[in-house]
């Protein structure tokens, strides 16, 4: 019996190790390639690890290719769109979670938001393209900010709804029975209590904005408004790929959401499942 237990355990860990190699090795090769100086790309049999690691590729991508500007665009768009989405989502979720909204109203709003998740962006981008050009916003950051705000609003609504539902109604009621107005109760009681909610929804929404490609690809044309993923796309699809530059671009694109994920790891799955899966 004991023997069998050890055997099972050994097999389990072997299987898990195989899984880790399948998922981890491509990422190792990505990081290692980004650290290779150019001559190491042209050896007959490329090595797994760089022989003389260097940061040349990062400098090349960010400064020689000017991707630092794209990085800045991504950050500006991400921060603006995230802030807008969270504010709007708060305005929508507050009445349906903190006030006696009818079940029908609540279901209508939430269902509407969830159904937007089902729209393929490509179908929406065709009309957006027309609207954005008609408004003279083509190749401008505000166009991306507006589109990203709308597109990630459902996610923000669902995440905030989950959090707000868990804060007892009594905390505001207590403040109001002590003479606070509803606005004061909101600002001085609910808002501070929602800090975690705002932060984690913000982090997840920002990660989505950061990763977005299709809208940026179609609604921008020059580095003035391009975001980082659009730049990386150029490195992957060009005729002769410069491996270390491409890999460095990939690592930078990954680093930002990865760091955010470590901050908000308890809420990533919650966000991706629109709040259905709650980590305790």
């Amino acid at each position: 019996m004991r023997r069998r237990g050890i055997l099972v355990r050994a097999m389990t860990y072997t299987a898990l190790a195989a899984v880790f190699v399948f998922f981890g090795f491509p990422l190792l090769y990505l990081v290692s390639t980004s650290l290779k100086p150019r001559p190491e790309l042209f050896v007959a049999v490329p090595t797994v690890l760089p022989r003389l690691p260097s940061l040349d590729a990062y400098a090349g991508v960010l400064f020689e290719r000017g991707f630092a500007g794209l990085l800045l665009n991504s950050i500006v768009v991400g921060l603006a769109a995230t802030t807008l989405a969270i504010v709007l989502a708060f305005a929508v979720t507050y009445p349906i979670t903190r006030l006696p909204a009818s079940r029908r109203t609540r279901t209508f709003v939430l269902d509407w938001a969830l159904s937007l998740r089902f729209l393929p962006p490509i179908a929406v981008v065709v009309p957006y393209f027309t609207i954005v050009r008609a408004m003279g916003l083509y190749n401008q950051l505000p166009a991306l900010i507006i589109v990203y705000t709308i597109f990630n609003l459902p996610l923000a609504i669902w995440m905030l709804k989950g959090f707000l539902q868990e804060i007892p109604l009594e905390v505001e009621e207590a403040a109001m029975s002590d003479g606070a107005s509803r606005w004061q109760a909101f600002r001085m009681v609910l808002l501070p209590l929602s800090r975690t909610a705002i932060l984690s929804a913000g982090v997840v929404v920002f990660a989505f904005d950061w990763a977005e490609f299709l809208f940026a690809f179609i609604l921008t044309a020059t580095p003035q408004a391009m975001t980082f993923p659009v730049g990386v796309q150029g490195l992957v699809t060009q005729f002769e790929i410069i491996w270390n530059d491409m890999a460095a671009g990939g690592v930078i694109a990954i680093a930002v959401p990865l760091m955010l994920m470590l901050v908000a790891r308890r809420y990533v799955i919650t966000g991706l499942t629109f709040g259905v899966i709650r980590e305790k």
């Binding site: 006030l99 909204a101 937007l116 990865l258 499942t273």
Partner: protein
């Protein structure tokens, strides 16, 4: 007149708090609803006009729906979904059960939890970068491995028979961990007493899975299927940078096809007609399946 009166008396009957709901909600929600619906209205308008703006009736829809390339792309999307969804769900479920039953150390579990999160948060474009490095000729991992065993190179992304399998692998790589995390969380919620009672009654691992765990996992499996299906229908970025829909049209899924019509051929009227069909289809589809979602929604 009577209608207005009735509305007003209905409004008056509501408590002040109920009135506040609508006073706060409507000024934000109505414009949002309008902004989110506007693309659909614009698409409808554009689908009924030619690129010079003349009204053409349903001609664009005839061209869009009469184009055999549309059906090729729908078929490829279906094949992709049929490869990717069952694989991810079975693999994710398998790993979740394996870890749940045999790994008891909280440290190892936490490490797996963090590791599983990594592929999920990687932007699609970067996933394209990663798999360029896996599939490329000469510099790609797979071809280096093949070379070291004396095999010839394989063009994973540009051989018609392999391209679909290659991009499906990418999807499986990125999303199996998501399935794992959701199902693992579900297994944690299975009451320990039920499992123990069954074991006392002599239930083997299979019975335990089939009659206890699966019952608890069913709503989550539906949830996973729902979100993954939505993603399969919108898949674009990684496939675009890896194969561009090729070779030929073997990996030209719905989104890539729409992109080609609208932005490669610059046929925005036909693309708008397609967009209208896709949006309407998705909403119908959403309505059909959303009722099966776990009732965590209100």
């Amino acid at each position: 007149m009577t209608l207005a009166l009735r509305l007003r008396s209905g409004w008056a009957k509501r408590s002040r708090q109920e009135q506040l709901v609508y006073r706060l909600l409507l000024p934000v929600f109505v414009p949002l609803f309008f902004v989110a619906t506007l693309p659909f209205l614009i698409a409808v308008y554009e689908s009924l006009t030619s690129s010079s703006g003349a009204f053409v009736g349903l001609a664009n829809f005839e061209r869009a729906l009469g184009n055999p390339a549309l059906y090729t792309s729908l078929r490829q999307t279906a094949i992709y979904g049929l490869v990717v969804l069952p694989t991810e769900i079975l693999l994710g479920l398998g790993i979740a059960l394996l870890v749940h039953r045999t790994v008891s150390s909280p440290g190892v579990r936490a490490a797996i939890y963090i590791a599983a999160m990594v592929p999920i948060v990687i932007p699609q474009i970067a996933v394209g970068v990663v798999f360029r490095l896996v599939f490329a000729p000469d510099y790609g991992i797979l071809n280096i491995l093949l070379g070291s065993t004396g095999h010839e190179q394989i063009l994973w992304l540009s051989t018609p028979a392999l391209a679909m399998l290659s991009v499906a692998t990418v999807d499986i790589w990125q999303w199996t961990p998501f399935v794992y995390l959701v199902l693992f969380a579900g297994l944690q919620a299975v009451p320990q007493e039920t499992v123990e009672a069954a074991q006392v009654d002599g239930a083997g691992p299979w019975t335990q899975f089939r009659h206890i765990e699966l019952v608890y996992l069913r709503p989550l499996l539906l949830l996973v299927l729902f979100f993954r299906l939505a993603d399969v229908l919108r898949v674009f970025d990684a496939v675009y940078v890896l194969t561009g829909g090729g070779p030929g049209t073997t990996t030209e899924f719905l989104s890539l096809y729409l992109y080609r019509v609208g932005f490669r051929f610059s046929d925005l009227p036909q693309a708008s007609a397609l967009a209208v069909v896709v949006m309407a289809g998705m909403l119908l589809f959403y309505n059909a399946i959303s009722r099966f979602l776990p009732a965590e929604r209100a």
